[in-house]
């Protein structure tokens, strides 16, 4: 029992142990609610909701009416859980640095490559996130919703997506880390 508690307090688990936990979560999602784990869809549901209230004409299209219907969906609730789950994880390992100095740009490797400025971190994260959401919209899911959830149902789409993701990810990393790759 004590060793289990100690393991929970560890900052980084063996990826295999954490992977088993996620696998069980994936099974339970299908078993208990016949749903898949997704993260990117939730943002589109929320944007659709805001969009329909602010500019109904612009959002009255196929995508927001049928593919990603607006509303508080299963995915939105799941995403709220993910946020708090991540916080619980950080809190148990004592690395929760909410509101402290350097909390907004705390990654040593990032600082070495791009510099210590917080605005840079946030700008790149913002535009990178636009790319992510856009790509997830085209592909029909993100790492969790398509690659993991689709993959566990052996959907061909998932494996095409994983191939694309790693291909371009490796190229991008090559460009960013030119000398120190």
């Amino acid at each position: 029992m004590k060793s289990i508690m100690n393991y929970i307090h560890k900052e980084t688990w063996s990826p295999y142990v954490a992977g088993i936990l996620l696998g069980i979560v994936g099974i339970l999602a299908v078993w208990m609610s016949n749903a898949l784990l997704g993260a990117s869809g939730a943002f589109e549901n929320i944007v659709g909701m805001i969009g329909k209230a602010v500019a109904p004409a612009a959002f009255n299209n196929l995508y927001f009416n049928f593919i990603m219907p607006p509303g508080i969906t299963y995915g939105v609730i799941l995403l709220v859980g993910v946020f708090f789950g991540g916080m619980v994880g950080a809190a148990t390992s004592g690395t929760l640095i909410w509101g402290k100095k350097d909390a907004a740009n705390s990654d040593e490797q990032w600082k070495r490559i791009f510099g210590p400025q917080v605005w840079k971190r946030w700008t790149i994260a913002f535009f990178g996130a636009i790319l992510l959401e856009f790509a997830a919209g085209i592909a029909g899911g993100c790492t969790s919703g398509l690659a993991i959830s689709g993959g566990m149902l052996l959907a061909p789409a998932a494996f095409l997506f994983i191939a694309g993701m790693f291909g371009s990810g490796i190229l991008t990393a090559l460009v960013i880390y030119r000398r120190s790759y």
Partner: protein, 93 residues
């Protein structure tokens, strides 16, 4: 209501496992593309293997029916994946 509680609970465990595997850190995500830290792949593939074997066993026992599988559009999935990788390496999502 029950569905929402299930979703919230599963979400918490989802986020917890991501955090413990280190996937909430920029360096973990980008280092898999530099082949210096394979945690992301180890984590993803373990989850995949556990979930797919569990689900197919449960389906074999007649306990679950699968939800609609994400649709296959070869161009869409591939192009989406290609753009996604760029964003992933930049943001560390």
């Amino acid at each position: 209501m029950t569905t929402y509680i299930v979703a919230l609970t599963l979400g918490v465990f989802f986020g917890f496992s991501l955090n413990k595997a280190g996937l909430t850190k920029y360096n973990k995500i980008v280092n898999v593309f530099r082949f210096t830290d394979m945690a992301v792949l180890q984590f993803m593939m373990t989850a995949l293997v556990v979930a797919m074997s569990g689900l197919y066993i449960l389906r074999g026992l007649g306990l679950v029916t699968f939800p609609a599988v994400p649709a296959t559009y070869i161009a869409g999935n591939l192009v989406g994946g290609l753009i996604f990788g760029v964003g992933m390496a930049l943001t560390g999502y």
